[in-house]
Symmetry: C2
Subunit: 338 residues, 2 copies
């Protein structure tokens, strides 16, 4: 088979690789129907995170089960499935507490921007669809593999509730998914912080009621003006830089909550923005398997269309261009099809 290997900064290659095989009896092999490029993949692509050796890359996928190990009971060959960006057994005490991204037996993948994928913990990771979905729905289901569940996790972590006033920091695919999540969870007002017309338009389509183009102190000032001077009940931090975390904390009202899901490139959180203002901070990698059943139902019954975050579709063998387009902000998120 062929799969994507990152060799170093801005060096993405689509290469021949050995076919993955069933190693553990809990494994499945999935033939990829669609995969995509994650904002977090760009950290290595841009050289911000080091690539010390050629490494298979990609962690989002939907596909058709090709084979399963002897212990797999909930999926079978021929089924269309979606799985999260980390595998989880869905049975350990941590999974039972709902924190599947921290599963005691969880694993990553050996590269999902590939024609075939080995999925460990298949029973606890993969969710089959009732039927093989039509082409139009595939991007929506693919989005559940990471970006939509991550936006959802931001909104849940920030305790978005019916009637909440919400700020979303970050207009990438995760931030936009966070807007959709906040609207679905009943937010009365969703303030999307975005400077790009196309992303502003999608944010509005996803349920944003207000757009703030300013950043930093000016952005916080605008949020305050829109929130009676006090800040938002819930803030979704979907970037991960020091400045965006501070901006998120400052945008919350006293007693408010920040849900953060942007991989933090910040070592310490300045507590002066938290304790004395009674502002909380919670989040991390999304427990995809916890959210998948509900979100898959919302996709299949047409309530949400999270696949709209994909604005570029390429053949899988043009994956390098998919990275370049996102790096250069020519695309929000690239979908890849074998």
């Amino acid at each position: 088979m062929r799969g994507t290997i990152i060799h170093g900064t801005r060096d993405i290659r689509f290469e021949d690789r050995d076919d993955p095989t069933i190693v553990e009896p809990t494994d499945a092999i999935v033939r990829t129907v669609a995969a995509c490029v994650c904002g977090s993949d760009l950290w290595r692509y841009r050289g911000i995170a080091e690539v010390t050796k050629p490494t298979p890359i990609g962690h989002e996928y939907v596909g058709v089960v090709e084979a399963v190990g002897n212990d797999v009971t909930t999926v079978r060959p021929g089924q269309f499935v979606v799985g999260g960006f980390l595998t989880s057994d869905n049975t350990c005490p941590v999974c039972k507490a709902g924190a599947h991204a921290n599963c005691q037996n969880g694993t990553g993948y050996d590269g999902c921007q590939a024609e075939l994928i080995r999925v460990q913990n298949a029973d606890g990771t993969l969710l089959p669809t009732p039927d093989v979905p039509d082409d139009k729905t595939i991007p929506d289901i693919l989005a559940l593999s990471d970006v939509m569940c991550t936006g959802w996790h931001a909104a849940v972590s920030a305790e978005v509730r019916p009637g909440s006033t919400v700020v979303v920091v970050g207009d990438g695919a995760v931030g936009l998914s966070g807007v959709l999540a906040a609207a679905q969870l009943g937010a009365e007002r969703v303030i999307a912080m975005s400077r790009h017309a196309d992303r502003q338009a999608l944010a509005k389509d996803f349920g944003a009621t207000h757009i703030v183009a300013e950043r930093g102190d000016d952005g916080v000032e605008q949020v305050k003006e829109l929130t009676g001077g006090i800040g938002a009940d819930a803030v979704l931090e979907c970037v991960g830089t020091h400045d965006s975390v501070v901006q998120a904390l400052q945008s919350a009202r006293p007693g408010g909550m920040v849900g953060w899901v942007g991989v933090p490139h910040v070592s310490d959180i300045p507590q002066r923005n938290m304790f004395w203002r009674n502002v909380g901070l919670r989040g991390g990698p999304a427990p995809v398997r916890a959210y998948l059943p509900n979100l898959l139902e919302l996709v299949l019954n047409g309530t949400i269309e999270p696949g709209k975050v994909f604005d570029l579709t390429l053949p899988l063998d043009q994956v390098a261009e998919g990275y370049a387009a996102m790096d250069e902000r020519r695309a929000i998120k690239t979908l890849l099809r074998p």
Copy 2:
């Protein structure tokens, strides 16, 4: 009247002062029935926080209303009242959101370890009792002025729920109150971290099911052993040092929550203990007025006896000895009576 002035490190004096007067029409004057010394007062007493000039001190009290301003409608002279360690108007948008400690019009006090106290925002701060309580109940009501509401805030912030496994870091009066709060909120297991026999005994009396005497990594290890290897659902951080905050974060299970109320003497929070483990952190100064009605009812109907944290009672004019006893850990918390 006479009141307590801190002049510098370990220099507490009980001195003649001018009687407070009604300044704003929303003020009340309260004649103190009982006051006490707070763990947070010790930061200045010990010289860790600087005292730049002689300053009235104390922020916990119960008493009888002596006079009210023209705009005060909910309390009247002769009523026995309790108020929180900060005043709040109970009407601004921040109070309406439940974050009374961050009231837009909130204030502190000009020293409550005194015979008379000026209470600003009287309507939004003071809660009268139906009758003048008996002497036995006064410590319990006094505890609501700060320490019990602060422990309660830790438990609420940490999302203690029926069935939760809870760790309480800190065995001072706040930590012990946190144990009581966690038990009241339905925790199934409450692990109190304490090295002192008398405090361990009170923790058990308040509902602790387990005691862990170890600190730091050893303490975290013990907590893990008691929680199936994963850590606690909810952790109450009631100290405020860098080490205690880290210990609290590490004691939480993935997806768990730390409620912090110890005045943090730490500038930055190490995020490595938060994001990748999906551990949240929330808290700050307690919104006393939000919790007072419920907790006062629990005191008056005999459900809780938070006044047990007072293990030393002194005449108000011996306030200096009250500080010394707490500083030297001869007392958990000192109650003062004029």
